[in-house]
């Protein structure tokens, strides 16, 4: 670890901290339908959309209608995406003449992008046409994020309103999230990315004549070696920047290219990398301020922010520490490799990492992308040291509530808040209250449902995969405990709607495409319904004036209790599985064992 590395990490966090308040207040105004400076442009466009689609913007929805509108919209976009993937060969903007996407893969991808997961079982540059990427994948990046924000706002309204039957209008919230927040930010942000070298074009792949032709020896199935000379480099292009911007800002994470934000055309410079990390946290951090403002309890918003910040720093410290250390297996007297940290090289574990990012920015990116449900990567998590790879895995397992996905992070965190308040109530023996609302058995049941569906999907699917050797074990790229980590990571990432991977696992098989698809659907929709149920139930309740027995939710004590609740739920659920994966791998690595 270096002083400069920590300085970059602190600089990143300082910028998030400074920007959280203005963006949070702006979002509160947008969803509260107050005046903003962007009304001049977007209010007329909003009216046109409502007119064309038959939306009555004054209509208020109960939680059930809100949920139904969300589900039918998600289904409609999912079907369109599936159709375009299958038919892309016959559609324009396909200069490489890529074939239609196979059925199981098209299904997996459509689910993946609808649920804000962006799990990718495919190599985009050899699978998806420019049209498929911009019309469906980038489109989902906007709307899965906008839907996430709408859901978070519905929950906030549930907390803020009293004796109300309704939570707002799903269509209006989604439209305002996408028009007022996402679209203008992405436009400017995309151009900033282009200024750093992210490509934005519709060119067919360029052919470059290699400076030094490459001799490639391949051994065929018959054992004969054939030699060929490669003289050109085919350079994949595309409308990348426009997709990159919303991929990061909407915490989607689905790369335009296979290696995502490690690819120089997606993330060419340290500054583009800084912007990409910042844009992951921008909206989720802002939403804590939105929460404080809409519930008229700003200090509560900051108390939630503080819990997130504390967990973020623990993660980044462990990841950075683990990756900056040399790999003990390459540190022997038989292999002379210089892994020291000096002014001329970052040293440490450089397998799967880019030189321009080095160790600090790779560890920071991995932490940020899994704290939030982004899933973009700028280094290969599969090649991280066991404890370095443990951090992203644990971050997702904690429910991606450390800032979290756009909207999803906040409503996930608020479920933990309900649990924390409930536990505090049990400890002092009084009915728990949260911002003037009594937390009763229905609310806690729904919160528990939310908390239990998640590990059930992750551990259930992982167990099935391990018990049925014919299903998915042949997809493993690494042996020993790391193989278990690969499977565990896949189902954790899918259920958590993250989308990052231990990429060695070949997930483009019938089993993984189908099972991961189901896991993603469970992780998004089954978990959202209890959230909306809580929102609807809280909205109905009367306001209870605070009494001396009320547990305050804006103090450091509350922050500590919230962190404790998150860690205890996460640790009790996943520790056994983790101890057989990354923890065991770490111990065996220290003992000098390879697989």
């Amino acid at each position: 670890m270096t002083a400069n590395g920590w300085f970059q990490i602190l600089l990143f966090f300082a910028l998030v901290l400074v920007c959280a308040k203005p963006i949070g207040i702006y979002m509160a105004r947008v969803f509260g339908r107050e005046k903003t400076f962007a009304d001049v442009i977007f209010r007329p466009l909003e009216r046109v959309i409502y007119k064309l689609t038959g939306i009555d913007e004054t209509h208020e929805m109960r939680w059930t209608e809100y949920a139904i509108a969300m589900l039918v919209f998600s289904l409609a976009t999912l079907l369109v995406t599936y159709a375009i993937e299958r038919l892309q060969y016959f559609l324009p903007l396909n200069p490489q003449h890529l074939a239609g996407v196979p059925a199981d893969l098209a299904w997996n991808t459509a689910v993946s992008f609808t649920t804000n997961t962006n799990w990718q079982s495919y190599v985009p540059e050899t699978t998806m046409s420019y049209l498929t990427q911009m019309l469906t994948l980038a489109y989902h990046n906007f709307f899965s994020a906008a839907v996430g924000m709408a859901l978070a706002v519905a929950l906030i309204r549930g907390i803020a309103r009293r004796e109300s039957k309704t939570l707002g209008n799903f269509w209006v919230d989604t439209t305002r999230a996408s028009l007022w927040v996402l679209l203008p930010t992405c436009f400017i942000y995309a151009l900033l990315l282009v200024s750093q070298g992210v490509v934005q074009n519709f060119r067919p792949y360029d052919q470059a004549k290699l400076v030094q032709p490459l001799t490639v020896t391949t051994t065929g199935a018959d054992g004969k070696a054939t030699t060929q000379t490669v003289t050109t480099q085919s350079i994949a292009q595309g409308p990348v920047a426009s997709q990159e911007a919303i991929k990061m800002l909407g915490t989607n994470g689905g790369g335009f290219f296979n290696t995502n934000s490690a690819h120089p055309f997606e993330n060419p410079t340290p500054f583009s990398n800084f912007l990409e990390m910042f844009s992951i946290f921008l909206i989720p951090a802002g939403l804590t301020v939105t929460l404080g403002r809409m519930t008229k309890a700003p200090a509560h918003g900051w108390a939630v922010f503080a819990a997130m910040a504390a967990l973020f720093f623990v993660g980044v410290f462990v990841a950075y520490y683990a990756e900056a250390k040399p790999n003990p297996l390459l540190h022997s007297t038989a292999i002379h490799v210089d892994q020291h940290t000096t002014a001329a090289q970052p040293g440490g574990n450089m397998e799967g990492k880019e030189v321009r990012f080095g160790i600090a920015n790779s560890a920071l990116f991995a932490t940020v992308t899994t704290d939030a449900s982004c899933g973009a990567v700028n280094a290969m998590h599969d090649s991280f040291m066991p404890l370095g790879g443990l951090v992203p895995l644990v971050n997702i397992m904690l429910g991606e509530v450390i800032f979290g996905g756009v909207g999803a992070g906040l409503y996930g965190m608020l479920i933990f808040v309900v649990l924390a308040v409930f536990i505090a109530g049990l400890m002092v023996g009084r009915t728990p209250e949260y911002l003037g609302k009594k937390i009763e058995s229905y609310d806690v049941k729904m919160a528990m449902l939310y908390t239990l569906i998640f590990p059930l999907s992750i551990l259930g699917f992982s167990a099935v995969t391990l018990m049925m050797p014919n299903l998915g074990l042949s997809s493993l790229a690494n042996g020993g405990p790391h193989g278990l980590s690969e499977i565990l990571y896949a189902f954790t990432s899918a259920t958590g709607n993250n989308g990052s991977a231990f990429g060695g696992l070949n997930a483009n098989t019938h089993w993984y495409n189908l099972s991961l698809g189901v896991a993603m659907l469970i992780g998004r929709f089954l978990m959202v319904i209890p959230v909306l149920a809580i929102a609807g139930n809280l909205a109905k309740k009367k306001l209870v004036p605070p009494s001396p027995g009320t547990f305050p939710v804006h103090t450091p004590l509350f922050t500590v209790l919230l962190i404790g609740t998150i860690l205890i739920v996460g640790a009790l659920t996943f520790f056994p599985a983790l101890s057989l994966g990354p923890v065991l791998e770490h111990l065996l690595l220290q003992a000098g064992k390879a697989y």
Partner: protein, 193 residues
Amino acid sequence: MRRNIITAILYTLVTTIIFGVAYPLLVTGAAQLLFKDKANGQLITENGTVVGSHLLGQSFSAPTYFHSRPSAAGNGYDAANSSGSNYAPTNQKLIDRVKGDAAAANADHPGTDVPVDLVTASGSGLDPDITPAAAEYQVARVAKERHISESAVHDLVAKHTQARQFGVLGEPRVNVLELNLDLDHTAPLVAAK
């Protein structure tokens, strides 16, 4: 319910036009207008032929060139098939590969240990850079093979070394393709013997 279904279908159509068509086209237009070269991948052209991109690495293994990092993209630096190795730190294949590469590299550079980035594959398989340590490590060999002074090669390396962006962000780095092209210009190889 029925009303929400009709709205969902119409809403998908209308918003697809705004976010799936108009937005990327507007960004493309603005990008091509403001940053034409960058929007098209910063291709390097020599005598009318495209020879690469400033952002993408290429394989270099000849002793007369600065070597780039190992690559897991296709046959190596395949810019239409980006990939990392995805080897775990406990994977025997990783240990064997590094051991082989390190032994080969150190044989050409007696008395020094090869910097780790030169024997580890990058995340993208297209990393255009090596660390200043990895460039320094190769200076003596390249100077000898090109029959030029080490200080001349040092100067070239220094010229192509990028410091941290704004003095703070990222890590210092050397662009291998740019360095090797410049090497060909300043100390051209004698035509095939």
